[in-house]
């Protein structure tokens, strides 16, 4: 076999910011800051949304940041452990409602009213919601993660629907007696977040908060993926039997990621509640979960960056269709929009089944004549 110097092989080492991702993260952060500043300071009276003919507004960008957090969690779960999850919107909804209920419904819960006046209470609620949702995910995940493939998908689907119904039906209580979730109407008048006396509103300020958090989530997730934990997860995805044989407790690892993913979704939900200043059950139903999965898959299910890309693509596509479709097909309405959206998704999946992050990279490399090793 022979002695070969170890320095011969270039060993990629993960430093403080994950190795080769450091450049990407910094570039992305700079881009986000620039976009935010353009919107805030409006040089020459121009806003970013003007540059994109109103398709990408501040509103879209904030939504993108919030959804990215939820989809990163989904990518960790589906892309890195190969577990299906059709119930992510359920955890998203739990986070949103927790933040809404514990900041607005203090009297209903017999909590001291002054909590609604201090700036730090909503932040505490966000943290507490993440822990509560994580614990809930642990209890539910323990049994259902013993299921495989389609059965697991169905179990998560059922879980998401149950959460949605519980929220919509006010936990079964009559609203006149005990109005916790507000039923179909939801909860209005959710306050804005603030740090000290500094309110994180109007929207430009909230944009910076949301994306700062999203970036932190991306960095932490990249660190996890490039660690022994991430390798164990990918081993579970590639060959669960071999992973077990190599000492990886696959059931526990899958459960850990399930919990982490749920906590990300909860965080995103809380940020959503304070963004919308209201919550209602509609976004957290089955279709909500499907849309999250869609964003995950379009971007590239096994890519942390893919989460941001998938979210951006789906949001932009929807806006494009909504605002421009009537130019191509006169008189087109909501149903035609849905069809058009569906067709576009199918086309993307046919040509880039691994998602845009992988397919996009491959496309660009082929352009420059660099053959790519098949994955």
């Amino acid at each position: 076999m022979g002695e070969t110097q170890q320095s011969h092989t270039h060993v990629k080492y993960a430093g403080w910011l994950p190795g080769r991702h450091a450049l990407g993260i910094i570039a992305f952060a700079v881009l986000l800051i620039v976009l935010g500043l353009v919107e805030t300071m409006r040089p020459f009276g121009i806003r970013f949304s003007d540059l994109t003919s109103g398709i990408v507004t501040m509103d879209t960008m904030v939504r993108a940041g919030i959804l990215t957090i939820a989809v990163v969690g989904l990518n960790l779960l589906m892309g890195y452990t190969g577990q299906a999850s059709l119930g992510q919107a359920g955890f998203y909804g739990l986070g949103a409602y927790a933040s809404a209920i514990l900041t607005v419904k203090l009297r209903v819960l017999a909590l001291p009213a002054w909590l609604g006046t201090v700036w730090w209470w909503p932040w505490l609620v966000i943290l507490a919601a993440m822990i509560f949702v994580g614990a809930f995910a642990y209890l539910v995940g323990k049994p259902i993660l013993q299921l495989r493939g389609h059965y697991l998908a169905m179990a998560t689907l059922g879980l998401g629907i149950v959460i949605y119904i519980v929220l919509r039906e006010n936990f079964g209580f009559s609203p006149s007696e005990f109005n916790l979730t507000g039923g179909l109407d939801g909860i209005p008048d959710v306050g804005r977040l603030a740090i000290g006396g500094f309110t994180l509103w109007p929207i430009e300020r909230y944009y910076f908060l949301v994306w700062a958090i999203a970036l932190a989530v991306i960095v932490l997730s990249l660190n996890i993926v490039n660690s022994r934990v991430g390798r164990a997860l990918r081993a579970v995805r590639d060959s669960e039997v071999a992973a077990n044989a190599m000492g990886v407790d696959t059931h526990t690892e899958k459960l850990k990621v399930f919990v982490l993913s749920a906590m990300y979704a909860s965080l995103a939900g809380s940020l959503y509640a304070h963004f919308q200043a209201a919550v209602s059950p509609k976004p957290f139903d089955f279709l909500g979960s499907i849309e999250l999965v869609l964003m995950s898959v379009i971007g590239g299910i096994a890519s942390i960056w893919g989460a941001a890309l998938g979210v951006a693509v789906v949001l932009v596509l929807k806006e494009l269709i909504r605002t421009r479709m009537h130019l191509i097909i006169p008189g087109a309405g909501g149903e035609q929009e849905v069809i058009a959206f569906g067709i576009l998704i199918v086309v993307i999946m046919i040509f880039m089944p691994d998602g845009l992050s992988v397919g996009g990279v491959r496309f660009v490399r082929n352009l420059f004549g660099k053959p790519v090793h098949s994955a």
Binding site: M1, G2, E3, T4, Q6, H8, T9, H10, V11, K12, Y13, A14, W16, L220, S221, N223, I224, S227, R228, V229, G230, R231, A232, R234, A235, R237, D238, S239, V241, A242, A243, N244, A245, M246, G247, V248, D249, T250, K256, L260, A302, H373, S374, A375
Partner: protein, 256 residues
């Protein structure tokens, strides 16, 4: 007398009405190269799966370093110092060669999700050690040149070597090799013979399942022969080669 490294006692495994393994007894002494041999369907891979914990015995027991393995899940058994390779190669295809071996290091490392997320010093220190140790195993099997290649891009023979390197990363006391030679060319088998001897020379006991009789006779210290799930012979290569029942079992399949 030392406690044997591995003791298999009256091992039984039934699938419904079929007895795949019936009352099999044998012992593996530390430092030996032990081979489990037998015609197709003799129960060799079933025995491997029973020892490594992938299957649960219907009867009997398995003891490794004094621990009873019967009810332990595979990842616990690996933690005790028993590692295996697979007949149908199970490399992690979407990871690099080096990453595959680094997964083998899982049982010898500890840092968790939190330390990983925040890149704590302990995580960085352990990560460095994992990488170095994994690279050493690749050098041992001769795959260091392919360290950054995707595991699925390796040839079949190389993937077998990768599995061995990965199993070695767990620092096993006992290494189970499931048909490591099948599908290999003659020169590859010779390389495998050398590698197995070198691994044993480093203090790892080897238990292997193998079809190729001449390969087995060269490398084995002791052999157990199975037929239809039962042990029909046990001993040194010389003893086994001349055993009437062994010859009868193999009659028509191969001649030694």
């Amino acid at each position: 007398m030392q406690v044997p490294l591995l003791e298999v006692i009256s091992l039984r495994k039934g699938f419904g009405g079929l007895m795949a393994v019936f009352d099999v007894d044998f012992i593996v002494e530390a430092g030996d190269i032990m081979v489990v041999m037998g015609p197709n369907g003799a129960g060799k891979t079933t025995i491997f799966n029973l020892i490594s914990g992938a299957l649960k015995p219907t009867g009997g027991s398995i003891h490794f370093r004094g621990h009873k393995l019967n009810d332990l899940p595979p990842h616990e058994i690996t933690r005790l110092g028993l590692a295996r390779t697979f007949q149908s190669v199970q490399v992690f295809g979407n990871m690099t060669v080096l990453e595959n071996v680094m997964v083998g290091r899982h049982v010898k490392s500890h840092y968790g999700m939190f330390s990983a997320a925040f890149q704590m010093p302990r995580a960085r220190r352990e990560e460095r050690e994992i990488r170095e140790h994994a690279l050493e195993q690749l050098v041992r099997v001769g795959l260091e040149e392919r360290a950054n290649d995707l595991a699925s891009n390796l040839s079949f023979g190389q993937q077998r070597l990768l599995e061995i390197a990965r199993a070695l990363a767990t620092e096993p006391g006992l290494l189970l090799l499931d048909e490591p030679g099948s599908g290999l060319s003659r020169p590859e088998k010779e390389g495998l013979d050398r590698l197995i001897r070198e691994i044993r020379g480093n203090g790892v006991t080897i238990l292997l399942v193998e079809h190729d009789i001449s390969f087995v006779m060269n490398i084995a210290d002791r052999i157990v022969v199975l037929e239809y799930g039962q042990k029909i012979a046990e001993g040194t290569p010389e003893q086994v080669r001349s055993d009437r029942r062994v010859i009868a079992a193999y009659l028509g399949e191969e001649t030694s």
